[in-house]
């Protein structure tokens, strides 16, 4: 192995790269996060199994639920509402919730890999590994929603509240998915290993998804369940996305969703970052 001469301008650690001002710190935090995000998106593209599974699954859900339950569900819907129109905005939320368990799995896998040790011994932003993970998952979540809309349009779904309504629906779901990602990030930092993270995620998300207005109107549920489901942030998110997509009372569920998300994010992000710093 012959060694070429070292370039004279090689960067030295004495370079004043330590962020001094708060503005510089924010800049580097953002750039580190983006670097880690790019890495995670590349991972996603390079795991064909994951890629296929996580795109086929939501498409399957759209088609299966629409055709299997469409027949009976229409009965419970207001006059003239097609089940696919009711269902698809709810499925955005379901998909974002399921997708967020993958945040836990991805992070848990990362923690088992040596590369995170390198990250942690480097002078990079402490939060970037988590922020890059949740941001990459947000991008994936958005891509999956767009795919679901495309499939939905093929089988009769239509936005009726204009482009702004459609964008609003997507943004509400994205915000909700982002919250779920951070929650599962935090959870993954407390359970040992990827499998545990996956199992824990499933056990929490599955009942939450069904005990909400994602698949059926709350009026069809027994009282106790409807009472519980009415308080669920998944119901708020589904109601907001639905109203913004096909009409109805949008403001209240949208504000409730935003309140839940902003409030919980303000708690869970610092908790997760602190946990990440202290685990060995």
């Amino acid at each position: 192995m012959t060694i070429t001469e070292r370039p004279a301008e090689e960067p030295r650690p004495s370079d004043p790269r330590a962020p001094t001002s708060p503005a510089a710190r924010v800049y580097w935090q953002a750039r580190d996060t983006w670097t880690v995000t790019k890495r995670n998106l590349r991972h996603f593209m390079r795991q064909p199994r994951l890629l296929v599974f996580s795109t086929i699954q939501p498409v399957m859900f759209v088609v299966l639920f629409a055709f299997v339950f469409g027949g009976i569900a229409t009965v419970a819907l207001p006059e003239g509402t097609e089940y696919i129109d009711f269902l698809l905005p709810g499925l955005f939320v379901q998909s974002a919730a399921f997708r967020s368990t993958q945040t836990a799995v991805g992070l848990a896998e990362d923690l088992e890999r040596g590369v995170v040790d390198r990250f942690r011994s480097m002078p990079m932003s402490r939060a970037a590994v988590l922020a890059g993970r949740t941001l990459a998952d947000l991008v994936r979540s958005l891509a999956v929603i767009v795919l679901m809309i495309a499939v939905g349009y093929l089988i009769g779904f239509r936005f009726t509240q204009g482009v702004l309504g459609a964008i609003g629906a997507i943004l509400v779901v994205a915000l909700f998915g982002y919250l779920m990602s951070w929650l599962f990030c935090w959870m993954a930092l407390h359970v040992p290993g990827a499998e545990a993270a996956q199992t824990a995620g499933f056990v929490i998300v599955f009942p939450m998804v069904f005990a909400s207005s994602i698949f059926v109107p709350l009026e069809t549920m027994p009282d106790w369940l409807a009472t519980f489901a009415a308080q669920s942030p998944l119901t708020h998110a589904a109601d907001a996305a639905r109203a913004l997509s096909i009409g109805g009372e949008a403001l209240r569920p949208a504000l409730l969703t935003i309140a839940w998300c902003v409030g919980l994010l303000a708690i869970v992000i610092p908790l997760a970052v602190r946990r990440y710093r202290t685990i060995t």
Partner: protein, 329 residues
């Protein structure tokens, strides 16, 4: 603090549950020095490195890197060090080039600078051809080289190599050694952990032997060899059956490792005299030998003795316990 030593470890202790990983380690490394931290598996080498690179907090005691505390000034310390671990810490799904660019950007080089450094390092570490393949497809030696390159995006003042060649074939090992020597020649301070004596002997200026979580000996390879005694006369008999007779002829001989081996310690300065005494005694007793020669103890001997490998090997065998009298002069 420009004149602070590269590493100062002061009574560092670390337990994991009931296991004591480090039980009071004191250690110093001067800038520009290469310290070999030698110890068997489980001795605490990796734990100590993880404390020094800010991945683990010590339970008690303190450690400073160029004067900066690894706990309270962790982010400053991270700017000064590079780490190449026992298990290559590279991203398997990214290509070699993408790995280096990513680490470069995370070291806060500009994109262009990171890309240029990545190309340089791929070239330098003989990975240019494989640069656009995922690291997952690399051989063990290539991964280790990529891992080492990842520590050098910004040239660290202090580089930690934690068992850099464990599990590598001899050719890959010598490639890592070559690179390491060049880094040292360029003035990088190095803390190298290894369980290979030869590696410590080849690369390190000074060796610290660690066992059961504390440093049990420190010095140059020669110091350590001297510590367990000077030269020995090593005897290999042709016929194992003659060993009892040989022991009678040379009463101060220790039994060596094989069943045809004997060993006689040589008093300082008396090497040739001891050799001739042993040779004559064996000839007079008509004992056939395959080999008689002077030998310095190897680091293997040092290691075994210090870590309690086989205490009997260094004490006189039974029946010659009183055999410290001067031999035939």
């Amino acid at each position: 603090m420009p004149d602070a030593p590269a590493v100062v470890v002061d009574d560092v202790q670390k337990r994991f549950g009931d296991t004591v990983a480090l039980s009071g380690v004191d250690l110093a490394v001067a800038e520009g020095e290469v310290l070999g931290l030698l110890g068997p598996n489980g001795a605490g080498k990796t734990t100590l490195v993880r404390v020094l690179v800010t991945l683990l907090r010590p339970d008690t005691g303190s450690a400073r890197i160029f004067g900066h505390d690894v706990v309270t000034e962790a982010s400053t310390v991270r700017r000064l060090i590079g780490l190449t671990g026992q298990y290559a810490a590279v991203d398997e799904l990214l290509t070699g080039r993408e790995n280096l660019r990513m680490f470069g950007e995370l070291f806060h080089l500009s994109r262009r600078e990171a890309a240029r450094r990545a190309d340089d390092l791929l070239e330098r570490f003989d990975l240019a051809v494989a640069g656009d393949r995922p690291a997952r497809t690399y051989s063990g030696g290539m991964r280790r080289r990529l891992d080492l390159a990842s520590s050098l995006l910004i040239r660290p003042r202090l580089l930690f190599l934690d068992e850099p060649t464990t599990g590598l074939d001899p050719r890959s090992r010598s490639a890592i050694w070559d690179i390491t020597r060049e880094l040292v020649a360029e003035g990088t301070t190095l803390l190298l952990t290894t369980q290979y004596l030869e590696e410590a002997d080849q690369l390190a200026d000074r060796i610290a032997v660690i066992d059961h979580g504390h440093i049990i000996a420190e010095g140059t390879g020669d110091d350590l060899k001297d510590e367990i005694g000077g030269q020995v006369v090593d005897i290999v008999l042709t016929d194992a059956a003659q060993r009892p007779a040989a022991c009678r002829a040379v009463p101060d001989a220790d039994l060596g490792q094989g069943d045809r081996n004997l060993r006689v310690s040589v008093p300082a300065g008396d090497a040739l005299q001891a050799l001739s005494r042993v040779s004559l005694a064996l000839r007079d007793a008509e004992i056939r030998v395959r080999d008689v020669g002077l030998r310095r103890p190897t680091l293997d001997d040092v290691f075994l003795q210090l870590t309690g490998g086989d205490p009997s090997a260094t004490s006189p065998p039974e029946g010659t316990a009183s055999g410290t009298e001067e031999g035939v002069a």
